[in-house]
């Protein structure tokens, strides 16, 4: 997403960079860049992301990756992100639940169901099959120093905790790099996961599959956290004093030759720092 649109998003939320840093809730740094393969094929960035503060101790982050083969994937991704945050804001504001409770799994499941309904409605309005809006969806909720993730498709969430780095949510298993089950699929539940509730979180990274090769290599079939990537990334995020500059830096980093060499796909990286 261009930096300008991110500013607009914050403006809509009526939250400025300075306010974010001074607030006691976690702060969030986001960047998304269009992949070279999309630029070459004249496609827009089909990733979407947004975050929302709910009450005074919850942040919900949604990241979606529209499927490159689908004509309205960018529309689907944006809608999935917006409608999931809308649902969570309503659900958690009117009826606060603890992240670790069983009730939270119901909230997450209902959230995905509501996004599916919203996508179906949109496909009817646009007079197209719902799979034209196909997208993955990665929803992360942070409450105080706890975090939990609901996930359909690829992308991942890595956390820095008091006990070190770990993967909070892995990409859904798939033998092939270009095969993913989107939220619009009838078989979405096979690739739907809700993570454990993780405590003692200091920082989180939520990212689409375009970032995966750089930071989450597969070693003998298992995803591994690449410390050389995450340690400096989280150190950078914790040192931020100006969100605008930080997001420009993150944007440049995602567009850098180093990152482009690992993947030509769109790349979205959202960093959240929990202030303790």
């Amino acid at each position: 997403m261009p930096v300008g649109e991110q500013y607009q998003l914050r403006k809509e939320l009526d939250v400025t960079s300075t306010q974010l840093i001074s607030m006691s809730t976690p702060y969030v740094i986001c960047a998304a860049v269009t992949g070279p393969s999309h630029i070459k094929r004249g496609l827009p960035c089909q990733d979407a992301f947004a975050h929302r503060f709910i009450g005074n101790n919850i942040v919900a982050i949604a990241v979606a990756d529209g499927l490159g083969s689908m004509p309205l994937a960018d529309v689907g991704a944006k809608l999935a992100v917006d409608s999931s945050l809308e649902f969570l804001a309503q659900a958690l504001q009117t009826d606060p639940v603890s992240l670790e409770s069983e009730l939270m799994t119901t909230v997450f499941t209902n959230c995905i169901l509501s996004v599916r309904t919203r996508l179906q409605e949109e496909s009817i309005a646009l007079e197209c099959p719902v799979n034209h809006l196909a997208t993955t969806l990665l929803i992360t909720v942070i409450q105080n120093d706890q975090a939990r993730v609901a996930h359909v498709g690829d992308g991942a969430v890595v956390a820095e905790t008091d006990n070190g780095l770990l993967i909070l949510s892995t990409p859904a298993p798939s033998e092939y790099v270009n095969v993913v089950t989107p939220i619009t699929s009838d078989t979405w539940q096979e690739d739907f996961s809700i993570s454990e509730c993780l405590s003692c979180v200091n920082a989180l990274a939520v990212f689409t599959d375009g970032c995966q090769p750089a930071c989450l290599p597969k070693v003998q079939g298992e995803y591994q956290v690449f410390e050389g990537f995450f340690k400096p990334i989280f150190a950078f995020a914790k040192d931020v004093t100006d969100l605008t500059i930080a997001e420009e830096d993150l944007d440049s980093f995602l567009s850098s030759a180093k990152m482009t060499a690992t993947s030509d796909d769109d790349k979205t990286l959202v960093l959240a720092v929990v202030r303790k």
């Binding site: 083969s69 599959d209 003998q220 400096p232 690992t262």
Partner: protein, 229 residues
């Protein structure tokens, strides 16, 4: 100082797609200069893939031939390392054994990718023949084994199996061998059809290796072949 300069990246490797060309070089390929079309087509494939920056890094090609004997004529290599062989027509058509070799090659290649930590796309087996198998026939155990391997592989999405019939191939036999969801194509008799087919093969691999699709790409094959009804 922007500390993001310190960030290291884990894996600069590209995902790969394995392509096994399963080529009939039995004696009948000498007729109508079919073998020339095939040999020139291999050159076109290499050049076309080399011209695409992504595909040239991502496609791995192997060639299995069946003319008298089944041979791994070219082991897997990158596009750059692919040295298109000049095939010489000889002998009969041991297609069954060749198909089994192609499937085994794919499995070995996947193991190698997994050991290296290389991610990959669904591999392709692309068979071209002008005849019918001489080492198996419907009802024999060999026939059952080979056709079952193709069906199971397709159903479990282990690979995509494509068959192309060149005149005077036994289309009915090929139809029984090819997976039901992907009937064999029939190469047109028009000039330029061989070249067009290999350009299509290259273009399909450029598309596969450059996108994230959720499902296999449906590729338009206009210009070189038809599916008889």
């Amino acid at each position: 100082m922007n500390r993001l300069e310190d960030v290291m990246v884990a894996n600069p490797q590209h995902p790969h797609v394995a392509l096994v060309l399963l080529l009939d070089n039995s004696y009948s390929m000498v007729d109508n200069r079919k073998i020339e079309g095939l040999n020139k087509g291999l050159q076109v494939l290499k050049q076309d893939l080399l011209n695409d920056e992504l595909a040239s890094k991502r496609v791995d090609i192997a060639v299995v031939t069946f003319g008298g004997v089944v041979k791994l004529t070219h082991p897997f290599s990158s596009v750059e390392g692919f040295d298109p062989p000049t095939l010489i027509p000889e002998g009969n058509t041991p297609m069954g054994e060749a198909i089994s070799m192609a499937i085994d090659l794919i499995e070995e290649r996947k193991k190698a990718y997994n050991n290296e930590g290389t991610s990959y796309y669904r591999p392709w087996i692309f068979m071209i023949t002008d005849g019918e198998p001489t080492d198996m026939s419907p009802g024999t155990p060999e026939w059952e084994t080979v056709t079952q391997k193709i069906r199971t592989g397709e159903e479990n999405k282990k690979f995509s199996f494509w068959a192309v019939a060149v005149e005077p191939a036994n289309y009915d036999a090929l139809k029984m061998i090819a997976p039901p969801n992907r009937p064999p194509m029939k190469l047109n008799n028009e000039p330029g059809a061989w070249k067009a087919m290999f350009e299509w093969l290259s273009s399909s691999h450029r598309k596969v290796s450059g996108s994230k699709v959720g499902e296999q790409i449906a590729t338009d094959n206009a210009g070189w072949g038809t599916i008889p009804t």
